[in-house]
Symmetry: C2
Subunit: 514 residues, 2 copies
């Protein structure tokens, strides 16, 4: 670190430089740059003591995390890690590998992938070198990874944070830094076999997290396009109309219809025809009905989409997910890059009858995107992909609300070593060392002479099941007092048998008494 | 997404605006800003098809990750997760919780914490709003977390990526994005009890990772300061001389001596006195020798440091780490904020005698920093901290080199369901669904009619222990052929007994034959 005096000299020299540049009428950029350096030096000076060390306790700014971000406490992390562990176990049940990519990408990699939302991308400052942006999702980096490494098939999951300069709505659980949790199958395979497994994975994840009631909505982009065409939407407006349909989960049909007519330029007749279709939902019977529909049965894209849905529903039946799926023509998904099946899983409220059920929001979504990896390949070689993104932030929120009542453990400590009298801390440390060497998870107080009550309270607060209590008489007799923290029962154990006794009690679930 | 036509209209309007601004001789900044928007629109146009969808295969830039960063393949991730899992198990053995903080902080939080290295901080672009920087380490965010949440005691680990705009030396394993893995104990406790546990944790981690030979070097900042004072170094130069001493692990004494004299302004006599001390290393005997040293015994700070070392070495003895520690007066650590004990663990080479042992670099480092959290508290309230940072990137590299020969599994799949004839894919899917429901980790081919050889090769490539083979005769007879992939032995199993049979073989370690 630079001494105060050295800093003062640097500031003087920098001030001289700025004055010289101004006198020479140098460019504003050049002058601004040197003025910025001067201000930095001055800020550093105000934070520096005489001996060059950094001054303490003179932070003048508000202590906070950046807008739309937050810290996670041990309680939150314990819950998050438990939830992620369950989700990962499902991915592993289906043979998935995992990869990781950098938190930032060359800005060009992200350019042109997110349509209007590109304005939400975080850019890094140009500090000389490459122009970088923080990743906006995990799908585009995945496609870049496939193309760059010339990978033509992989089944991978990726759990990592992504960044969006959105207006955070903390109340609705939306943040600028949040986890995404993606599972994707890349490769050239037979129709709907990987697609049906993605549905099964969403089904298993929502079951393993004990979500009481949910539905996985399914639709197909080719059917949507064919339906739009059959209703008279011009081809150039397919994506715009698709975006409008996507709003049906939040807005009533009247509003969406208005948008289609007033903003997207559809005729009333065309909008009304669309309106009839997007009200439809069902299962295999609906596919048959639509295959017989006068307009759709004449449209190539619609028939392709319907045949694909028929196959998907058959496979869903084999995979045992039929009860939870719904073929829903109003499902459109916001992203442009989908080319086939699209999914969205929605949690349902506690309403008794199905008509009263209230959607509490999407907790998973995805679909097939066969063209994205090809965008990165110099020769446009495509790698067909299908995948699903688990809305873990929303699931965390649901689990947090559910577990608010019960206390979740933030540590895994099995044994707490306590002392009952003063000046026994070295005996305590000796016992800890023995138990660590035997493989146990062990803690003790970092104070030499803590009060016994405080030590036992620590056990209760952190849910540590067993306490060992050492006093002078125990040490003299070669024994330890073993206390079940929950039942408060205590027994004396010979030191030589201690490890076995602890192991036995932990295996037996020591909360059920000694 | 906007249609091509709409884009062309926007470009025309933007072009008109730029011409108008130029005609009106508006400021260069204003004009540049609008020109930039124009260029962005043009870039978007060149990526857009007639229907508004994004054009494929026209990426003109080199496909790469940003300088100094990299992707991690499934193989690398499998190894990393295995190593991190072992490290986390040690942290949990010592009762640690975990927390997380955002990847970026307000720039002010990082200002004045890293001395000369502040120039390596990544800044985010000012897109309106707060001025942000990517985190440079996990220690400063931890101190900010403590102060902001008014936490006075916590024992936590934090594993996350940090960012430094260093010149990456990929060969030496240095990157701009890399993991840090920190364990810290914050709280007001009795001397050296938490400090000795940090040493024990480093000791356990290097043991659990089966590092064959290592040493944990210990020193104390108060002893260093006292020694500098006793040698005649002016107080304003303590930190600068400390930085010079820190280079002794890479540079010979002659060079460090030269730096002290020529750059840091010490007299030759003072430098030579320091040179005598920094050659010393040993264990408890060295503490006694230095407590009797004529110069040091008269220096308050040195005596405090030596008494602290004496206590630490005593506790290390209780904790069973004595064999692996070395009290080393040349250990200085680069960071300014240490106030007490400092640690550094170094792997040793395979040289037979200790004099031939070659240091292959630091794999853990840390120390006590009692003042850092107070820097963030408006009233300067301090939270004493001691901690250690595990050099996981270097440990990953060591483990990668070690495991290069053996193949590491990237999935956990237990059973692969194969078919021996065509058109049995629905039977295969049915069997997968049954096994998933029974809790097994199961895969099958996503092709309708894969070749049996290819299916079995997939099992061998991914180390899947069991394959189930379905053919028409098996289906007719209600049996499945169960194949041990390693031994290639096959037996027929009745469908109703299949789950039990698989479970038995997996528990028995089915690699040892059926």
């Amino acid at each position: 670190m630079v001494s105060k005096q050295a800093l003062e000299e640097q500031i003087k020299a920098q001030g001289d430089l700025v004055r010289k540049l101004k006198a020479a009428k140098e460019s504003k950029e050049k002058i601004d740059e040197e003025v910025a350096k001067l201000l930095e030096l001055k800020a550093e000076l105000s934070n520096t003591n005489e001996d060059g060390s950094t001054a303490l306790a003179n932070q003048k700014f508000t202590l906070k995390t950046p807008k739309g971000t937050r810290d996670f406490s041990p309680q939150q992390m314990a819950l998050r890690n438990a939830v992620l562990g369950k989700i990962i176990s499902v991915f592993k049940k289906h043979g998935a590998e995992t990869i990781d990519t950098p938190v930032f990408e060359l800005k060009e990699v992200l350019t042109g992938k997110y349509g209007e939302d590109s304005k939400l991308i975080y850019d890094l400052k140009d500090q000389g070198g490459e122009i970088l942006s923080l990743r906006y999702d995990l799908t585009v980096p995945f496609a870049r990874y496939l193309a760059m490494n010339k990978i033509t098939n992989i089944k991978r999951y990726h759990i990592a944070k992504v960044y969006r300069r959105d207006n955070p709505s903390i109340l609705r659980g939306r943040y600028r830094e949040f986890y995404q949790c993606d599972f994707d199958i890349a490769g050239t395979y037979d129709p709907m076999i990987p697609d049906a497994e993605c549905v099964r994975i969403v089904f298993e994840i929502l079951n393993v997290l004990e979500m009481p009631s949910f539905v996985i909505k399914l639709n197909h982009r080719k059917l949507l396009d064919g339906m739009f065409e059959a209703c008279g939407v011009p081809a150039t407006s397919f994506r715009a109309i698709c975006s409008a349909v996507d709003k049906l989960d939040k807005s009533p049909w009247d509003e969406v219809r208005k948008e289609m007519i007033e903003e997207k330029g559809l005729s009333e007749a065309t909008a009304d025809k669309i309106g009839e279709y997007v009200q439809l939902n069902g299962k295999a019977d609906l596919v048959e009905k639509l295959l017989a529909d006068e307009k759709l049965s004449k449209n190539k894209s619609a028939v392709e989409g319907l045949e694909a849905m028929k196959l998907l529903l058959k496979y869903c039946n084999i995979y045992g997910t039929t009860d939870k799926i719904l073929f829903d023509l109003s499902l459109a998904r916001g992203l442009d890059y989908y080319t086939g099946v699209i999914y969205e899983a929605v949690l349902l409220g506690d309403g008794a009858s199905s008509s009263e059920e209230v959607s509490v929001g999407s907790v998973a979504g995805g679909g097939r995107y066969d063209d994205l990896a090809g965008m990165f390949d110099p020769k446009g070689r495509q790698v067909p992909c299908v995948g699903v993104s688990i809305g873990v932030e929303r699931l965390f929120a649901v689990m947090e609300a559910r577990q608010a009542a019960e206390k979740i453990r933030t540590t895994e400590t099995e044994v707490y070593v306590a002392t009952a009298q003063k000046n026994l801390h070295e005996e305590r440390m000796q016992l800890c060392a023995e138990l660590w060497a035997a493989g146990f998870k062990v803690e003790h107080s970092y104070k030499k002479n803590p009060k016994l009550l405080q030590q036992l309270q620590h056990c209760e607060e952190y849910g540590i099941p067993l306490a060992l209590i050492l006093g002078e008489s125990e040490i003299k007799n070669g024994v330890v007092k073993l206390r079940n923290v929950t039942t408060r029962e205590e027994v004396e154990i010979t030191r030589s048998k201690l490890a076995d006794e602890i192991r036995q009690r932990l295996q037996g679930g020591c909360r059920n008494g000694l």
